[in-house]
Amino acid sequence: MSTATEQKPLVALDGLSKTFDLSPPLLNRLIERKGRRSLRAVDGLNIDIPRGKTFALVGESGCGKSTVAKLVVGLHGASAGKITFDGTDLTKLAAADRGAFRKRIQMIFQDPYASLNPRWRVRDIIAEPLRSFGITSSKAEERAEVGRLLELVGLSARDGEKFPHEFSGGQRQRISIARAISSKPEFLVCDEPTSALDVSVQSQVLNLMRDLQDELGLTYLFISHDLAVVDFMSDYVGVMYLGRLVEAGPAERIFSAPEHPYTRLLMDTVPDITMGRRNRAPVIGEVPNPITPPPGCSFNPRCPLANDRCRAQAPEARKRAGGSIVACHAVEEGRDTPETVACETGEGARMQLARGAA
């Protein structure tokens, strides 16, 4: 692989948006004079994912992170914007031409109980992509490949004869991973792959995913609400709030010096076993209804730094000195002084506060 292709991102999302139409049926609109209603689940997302790296999207439920996953694998059609995969815009592609890309983009789902067909043997589940993409030519070859995949994810080749219900949650997620990598994809979209698992099993699956990335050179779009998991897995992090990217950049930067007030809030609320009982600044408010987002910056009702400008004008994403991108008026204007952000956050944020004070 030449350095030129390494520098060009494998996946680039460019102004990606998805709007869901929630309007009442036509007749109701005419008779009851109800207007059209829509929900902007994803709003102008710009993300580059370099080959062989992991980009993590974090945010709370309803922020649109799973919609992004579905857009990227083609389960939803984009309303606007581009999804460029290895130089090709997937949104412009005719359905017939998508097949070639399906093979190269695979997905791992959250719930290993719902994503495996309970009536199929594991060997058939894993062999399905092999058959539909015509990767193996004979039964014997298929069997050998399934065995190899099962061993690759830490199961034994004999497990192929069993049904999904004979496995624990962690083992099922290994089966999902084996199925996802069976077509030798370059890009895996992982939507909360470990949030249904217990911690001791979660660490097994996360380690496996990192090992596979090193061995197979996979690129991940990793979606999670768990910041500790994201910190472990990712090279780049994007923080989403109500469909927009509020902060994105290299993982070490986001975790050591979060800038957007929402990112800091998230960092502050992660329960940590080593910190004991902290006195946290109370986090106020909840995520607003995405159908009727507040005007201006959508985070303004919960933001300790909000002023009139934040309530009127949505902030643009701006490049920051540390290599990250932040969409916040307060950060841009330098209003985010340590005194105004009176919350004791994690280790990283403390460094940030110290840096700000210096």
Partner: protein, 330 residues
């Protein structure tokens, strides 16, 4: 912090409690001989993986265990009296009045066909001798206490009109409106987002401290326990493998399972390249291993572990059930 030196008698005392399920293939023991005390006003965390028996223990204490599950050994003493042998009627009077319960999913633990106010008034009037008007006034007070804005207006709304976090606040108000001295909170924040989780945990702690209510906090999230509880009981395969002050268990876990559990939790800013993992998975109830249930996964298992079940040995303000500590000089 020493929690074993409470001068008061324990509020709740669980002695050798076992819960079994009768199935066609014979009885399955889901909780196997667990023993612990809870002091008044104390917050005890119960942590473990799915299927460890932590929720079932809470269910047994609230008397909501359903067939085919049954308590087949041991006893539960509440304020010095046995409650596991009470009739369903007597138990119902106790539950809600003296023992409150908060469950994981706030949407299913509220009645969707009744307004929040009706549910609160009903609960208050079931347990306290109050007129309709007084109960309603108390209900509004309760909602205000759990931080619901404009309680006078919201009391007449239905559960679906509340957000997830607000709903869980209503559930907490319901659990605490009769001023119980014990609250069983089963995964109270698992269905909520992290920023809301912090709010709810703070609220639960504050409410219980103000009323002097003791809490059993059942969760799979060690972080939640570390920030909320005084003591923690770590469960594995229906048994308590380690119990002690949260401080000690987090700082110096003794049982190999607790150690593995602590190390496998990813942490922000740890910078590790690999997470510590406990290989394998928790055994199914149908094929529990002999001796210590953890021995097939235990990095330090030896012969005795396969043969005999370890007894609970006292360690620094708690207990640990592990043969490794058997020969330590007392």
């Amino acid at each position: 912090m020493s929690t074993t030196t409470f001068p008061n008698a324990p509020l709740l005392s669980v002695r050798d409690l076992s819960i079994c399920f009768d199935t066609r293939h014979g009885p399955l023991r889901a909780v196997d001989g667990i023993t612990f005390d809870l002091a008044p006003g104390e917050i005890l965390g119960m942590v473990g993986e799915s299927g460890a028996g932590k929720s079932l223990t809470g269910t047994a204490i609230t008397g909501l265990l359903e067939r085919p599950g049954r308590i087949d050994r041991g006893e539960i003493l509440f304020e010095g009296k046995r409650i596991d042998t009470l009739s369903p009627d007597e138990m119902r009077r106790l539950r809600g009045r003296r023992i409150g319960a908060i469950f994981q999913d706030p949407l299913t633990s509220l009645n969707p066909l009744m307004t929040v106010g009706q549910q609160l008034v009903q609960t208050i009037r079931t347990h306290l001798p109050k007129s309709k008007e007084a109960a309603r006034a108390r209900a509004i007070e309760c909602l205000a206490e759990v931080g619901i804005p404009a309680p006078e207006a919201r009391i007449d709304q239905y559960p679906h009109q509340f957000s997830g976090g607000m709903r869980q606040r209503v559930v907490i108000a319901l659990a605490l409106c009769a001023e119980p001295s014990l609250v069983i909170a089963d995964e109270p924040t698992t269905a909520l987002d992290v920023s809301i989780q912090a709010q709810i945990l703070d609220l639960l702690k504050k409410m219980c401290r103000e009323r002097g209510a003791a809490v059993i906090l059942v969760t799979h999230d060690m972080g939640v326990i570390a920030e909320t509880a005084d003591r923690v009981a770590v469960m594995y395969s229906g048994r308590v493998v380690e119990i002690g002050s949260v401080d000690r268990v987090v700082r110096d876990p003794r049982h190999p399972y607790t150690k593995g559990l602590m190390q496998s939790i990813p942490r922000v800013g740890s910078g590790v390249q690999r997470l510590t993992q406990i290989d394998g998975a928790m055994p199914r109830l149908t094929d529990l291993p002999s001796g210590c249930a953890f021995h097939p996964r235990c990095p330090r298992a030896f012969d005795t572990c396969q043969q005999t079940r370890p007894a609970a040995l006292p360690v620094e303000g708690g207990h640990v059930a592990c043969h490794l500590y058997q020969e330590e000089p007392a």
